[in-house]
Symmetry: C2
Subunit: 391 residues, 2 copies
């Protein structure tokens, strides 16, 4: 590991991007004794503002993504302790709930697909239980009478991404992270080594290592050599938020329910606060974050097929955000071919789930120069053919 | 006509309620030389905040409501001059557009119903033109291919109710109307005569005549003798607002389009500003103004059947309001059995359309003591069996 360049006033680490991934990186780095700065015009914003916060590696299992599954499971296992530690550090909650998830089938095709998923889960040693339609409705009485069966996964949990982001901002502040509430304009490269950034207001922030954690915008920082630009694209997601009666979640819906309706994933995530999150569209639309008539219509239509009774619920918010998605749907973590530049981006739909493991992986990379074993398949260089696991 | 009681500081007229009906009453009364005060916590609010602003007596024709039709037509004929006069007085626009209305049929039943409506319109001497489906789509190319025919009514226009309310507030201010931005608590009755109100902050506002124009809340003012309480109930309407491309209305939709979809009225009103208003649900829910998942879903679903291309439009607002509806769906205008108390309420879905004629009718009632002929079927006393047309 090379020594930190400590020019006058330079920090050990500068994190570019104050979404949950940038924040957890900053918090964990500060926890290892490094001096840390973070640049973002509004820390705690980003894709987490819109995310549903499912911690659901088992119900979201995809064929061909078993390597990612290992990382997801490693993170899921850390979530309870992570939530406790963060809540202690910040003094505020993160809405972690172990209420479980129920993936249901609305027709015979869905049922066949869910049965296949169940077989695949068992093959991988994952814990899930097949339920008949009436057993699903016994668990969740608001479910549509047409539900044909489902998979109960008690190990798939949830957190509230807005609370998570807020707690991470506070924890960073308390850990001494210095916030520059300005957008980063350009990476500074000195003698072939990343040395910080220049902000849009002209301020130069010097740092021994720079972590690019700017979500969908990670591919757009000037000064990053073109061949090292992270291949991250924005995938738009629209989300609708309803309010359940009496602020309680129990009587209406007690756990996350999801299904595939007309080929689209739809999920309903009931929060402790009484909020019911319905997500999410998946649209390749560049930087567009418009909430559209069609997006809201399809979410309400599909959700209505799962839970007809939700028509009575108050609609309180519609929103859209951008998932930072990489070519293999997995994150880009750790060192790049440019000394002093690391990545923590490309988390796609898994940002909230992967927050604990990402914080730990980047803290390891920044202190020992090595990614931990579970993170090594996700090196930043894997798309350029120049894999590096040391800084 | 009895003389105005002019106690110290008393106004000739106090209007209770600052929606468009209260405002137009105050403006017109001030224009006749009366001194006018108006009490409302937020003048310019009320049902007009949510209304679509269709001026459409011909396409909204209902069997058995021919008396109301005469009043509607009288008001529709005044709208162009009213808009010009108000815009001149206020210095701001009201979004009056003579773009016409197209009522379309989506299936054979709708088509038969529209054909009957067309026959009824012709019987009453109203101007409308039957168009085949392809002629409808030639006029409005975004219409669904399944449109089976329609009624073109060029005389059914629109205004923007929010602009209308704003202009009326300014016109009232410029005409010297005194605003009390506090809710009225109780009618003051002195020697068997209405003499003003006491506001919620305890202020007594004295007036020779008091006009109750509080929309859905008109039945709830303390101090009004129970047998004279206007029988007005709130009927909830939910509305969705989209934004058409490029801020222009021409390319996407050039005129109001409406239809009956699955038994529900749905209409799409394109504004000059690029706003596209989709309305409206009609729900008996008391004072509830919650925007619900089901209300928004049904509006988007039905609108989508008419104009499939609207899925791409930005959804910018969802809202709900309360129509003040009387037992015969017509307004309550003019004197009551209590000397000095007049009504201007119960306009239901016709508030914007009836604004000009209501202002004129109340100004006549307040100055000459007589309602004009077109307003006489709508006396405030018709539900109590004690009809009075003089003050």
């Amino acid at each position: 590991m090379r020594p930190v360049i400590s020019s006058e006033g330079a920090r050990d680490v500068l994190v570019v991007g104050g979404g949950i991934i940038g924040l957890v990186t900053a918090w964990r780095a500060a926890g290892r004794g490094l001096s840390v700065a973070l640049a973002d015009p509004s820390p705690g914003g980003g894709a987490a503002r819109v995310a549903a916060g499912m911690l659901a590696p088992v119900t979201e299992l995809h064929y061909g993504e078993q390597r990612l599954l290992a990382l997801q499971l490693a993170s899921a296992r850390r979530w309870a302790a992570f939530a406790a530690e963060l809540e202690e550090a910040a003094g505020t909650g993160v809405g972690y709930r172990t209420c479980g998830t129920l993936a249901v089938a609305l027709d015979a095709d869905d049922r066949a697909q869910l049965k296949e998923l169940h077989a695949f889960q068992r093959e991988l040693g994952l814990s899930s239980e097949w339920l008949a339609g009436r057993e699903c409705r016994r668990l969740e009485p608001m479910l549509a009478p047409g539900v044909r069966g489902g998979l109960r996964v008690d190990g798939d949990h949830q957190a509230d991404p807005r609370l998570l982001a807020r707690a991470l901002v506070t924890a960073c502040e308390r850990a001494g992270v210095v916030f520059h509430r300005v957008r980063a304009r350009e990476l500074t490269v000195v003698r072939g080594r990343a040395a910080g950034v220049v902000l849009e207001d002209g301020t130069a922030v010097a740092a021994g290592r720079t972590v690019l954690a700017a979500g969908s915008w990670s591919g757009g920082l000037a000064g990053v050599p073109p061949e090292l630009m992270p291949p991250v694209r924005p995938v738009k997601g629209q989300v609708v938020r309803l309010r359940m009666p009496d602020g309680g979640h129990g009587p209406f819906l007690s756990r996350t329910v999801r299904a595939v309706v007309r080929g689209s994933q739809v999920y309903l995530v009931p929060r402790e606060s009484g909020e019911l999150v319905i997500g999410a569209t998946s649209e390749e639309r560049g930087w567009d974050t418009t909430v559209t008539a069609g997006g809201v219509y399809e979410l309400l239509r599909d959700a209505h097929e799962l839970l007809p009774g939700l028509t009575e619920l108050a609609l309180v918010e519609t929103s859209a955000g951008l998932r930072p998605v990489s070519p293999d749907n997995a994150p880009l973590l750790g060192a790049t071919a440019l000394d002093g530049l690391l990545l923590a981006t490309g988390h796609g739909r898994n940002g909230v789930l992967l927050t604990p493991v990402t914080g730990d992986a980047l803290a390891d990379a920044l202190t020992s120069g090595e990614l931990p074993p579970e993170a090594r398949p996700f090196t930043a260089g894997r798309f350029t053919g120049r894999e590096l696991t040391t800084v």
